[in-house]
């Protein structure tokens, strides 16, 4: 079984500041890792994913996450945030076996102010 811990429930930052949303996971098997974003009153959208290969993965809107197997972490970072990045962010993990359920963290609310 897998589990996910998002270490911060809320992260307030000012516009153009860097941000890191922390995610740790536990699993006895190899995993795939994901970050989803949920804008207000909307469903979840996939932001980025780690399947294999390079441990640093990037999204099209400037976010990146690094898979650290030794620390079982998959922290999400952005060097300079915008007001439009205000949303809830969910880290998720699943085992690589077909049919394995996706396990979500409890979410981190990123609030960007000017």
């Amino acid at each position: 079984a897998q589990s996910v811990t998002q270490l911060d429930s809320q992260v307030p930052v000012f516009e153009e500041a860097p941000v890191e949303l922390r995610c740790n996971y536990s699993s006895s098997v190899s995993v795939y890792l994901f970050w989803y974003v949920q804008y207000p009153n909307q469903g979840l959208q996939l932001l980025l994913k780690y399947l294999s290969g390079s441990t640093l993965v990037e999204s099209i809107n400037g976010f990146e996450a690094e898979f650290n197997k030794s620390q079982t972490s998959f922290h999400l970072r952005k060097p300079s945030v915008h007001i439009s990045d205000t949303a809830e962010y969910f880290c998720a993990v699943r085992g690589i076996q077909a049919g394995t359920a996706l396990i979500f963290g409890k979410g981190t609310t990123l609030s960007v102010s000017s």
């Binding site: 429930s9 469903g43 959208q45 969910f90 085992g95 979500f104």
Partner: protein, 115 residues
């Protein structure tokens, strides 16, 4: 392509009433899922279906039932609603491939209030 549609968008329901939340996808994905989202608890899996004709229980299945008569539809039924089922419900789908990965696509959600 619409992706995943859910109905209704929101609903206020009296306790004890029966309610079916509808979910339809047009991507021909073989797997579908129902989650509930509650403040501070994230998303929790209620039921899932890896292919038409099969269903399975997730983390919080009690009080809910599902069916998967065809590929596109995956309704969630609350047989006798209780206030603790007040939540936002999300349907999702994914394509299960041989190697096990398939991105999950989410619907817009149904906000259910049980009074």
């Amino acid at each position: 392509i619409a992706g995943i549609t859910q109905a209704p968008t929101s609903q206020i329901l009296a306790a004890g009433r029966r309610m079916t939340l509808r979910c339809t996808q047009d991507m021909r994905h073989n797997a579908m899922y129902w989650y509930r989202q509650d403040l501070g608890l994230g998303l929790r899996l209620i039921h899932y279906s890896n292919t038409a004709g099969t269903t399975g229980k997730g983390e919080v299945p009690d009080g809910y039932s599902v069916s998967r008569a065809n590929t596109d539809d995956f309704p969630l039924t609350l047989a006798s609603a209780v206030p603790s089922q007040t939540s936002v419900y999300f349907c999702a789908s994914s394509e299960l491939r041989r190697q096990g990965f398939g991105e999950q696509y989410f619907g817009p959600g149904t906000r259910l209030t049980v009074t």
